[in-house]
Symmetry: C2
Subunit: 202 residues, 2 copies
Amino acid sequence: MCGSATRLTKKGDQIYAAGDKAGRLVKVCSGAVMLYVILEDGRRQIVDLAGPGDLLHFEIDGELDHFAEALAATELAVMDGAEALGDPSFLPYFLEQMRARISLERRHIAILGRKSAQQRVADFLEYVSDCLNCPPGEIDLPMTRQQIADYLGLTLETVSRIFAKWVREGRLVQVDATHYELTERNGTHAPGPSSLCRLLAA
Amino acid sequence: MCGSATRLTKKGDQIYAAGDKAGRLVKVCSGAVMLYVILEDGRRQIVDLAGPGDLLHFEIDGELDHFAEALAATELAVMDGAEALGDPSFLPYFLEQMRARISLERRHIAILGRKSAQQRVADFLEYVSDCLNCPPGEIDLPMTRQQIADYLGLTLETVSRIFAKWVREGRLVQVDATHYELTERNGTHAPGPSSLCRLLAA
DNA sequence: CGATTTTTTGATTTCAATCAATGTTGGTGG
DNA sequence: CCACCAACATTGATTGAAATCAAAAAATCG
């Protein structure tokens, strides 16, 4: 609907770059996308992650100020921005998406400003498992250590050490390349979705 | 217009709290407001600053997830959210405000994730002088060390030391309680607004 | 002018960054 | 199928920037 075209991307494909002209809105149908900026000194900061149902940006006539890259094979719906915003049934979704981004980014700010490395990684796992609708206690994590570090404002070594520590302590098990599992031995296992960060970062 | 009422607040007044029911939109007419969250352990993270022309939030029927407090005597316009959004001339402003917040918050994320304490303070001064339309080289800073620290994810001691260092080095002069001035002795003084952070953080 | 809040400054500690190898994994072509 | 290569990840030793702990000094306000 809304004259949208489909675009398929592979893991690692750049979807757009900072400086590109906006105009077309992009929605994630399946897969996952990271949004990032590059600082003057070349370092990268991932500013957001987008999963199924999310719009990548909200510009319809300016220039984009960030980069978007697929974290995995991703299906995108591309639509004309002006046309979509003209559709009254689209507007509430558009607004809700923007509000969600603002909330998410403020959580991100609080994490980066005030939390320790361990708390950051725990919050991140919780957020990702939320985002991608993983069953409780299981986490599908299609990101490299460097990408996690660039999201959390850490170095890849620090992220690696924290994972290693949790595995060593038996709190976390790596099932396969991208698949992790929380072990029970953290007291009761029922206490709801937001317990992850408390369990791990203790 | 738009059935808006005016509300006057003094420095330090709480405008709303997390958990308050939304419904009314609030616009800053004059003054300045900080938006913040409180973490589980009681620490505060300031997530945004709002100046004249800015909307404080974008919720019209949910609950607010952050606190708003006046940094100085501030005049606010309070309007009914549903009514305002019904006005077609209001929508572009509303969207632009949300986009601006998202951009700003991403800059904030990049600062918190990847920059040193000195770079943070320099970026902050630049942002504030921008925000409040200070003449180039002059900065009106109506915030305590603790508030600056809570915005930048630092401690107040660190912020204090950085200001002291710049004053000692002659890069910065404190004119009065809230008023600072950049000194020339950083090479040419003309290089545009975004030079502040480079000049100070060198 | 007292009293509280805010700021400065100093000494010390700590967490994560950096520097430096080594080890693993997964994809490609022989 | 296996060997090789390039990413990616782990692990260790050391450094360093900012946090923390602890007073004193200044500013602000009834």
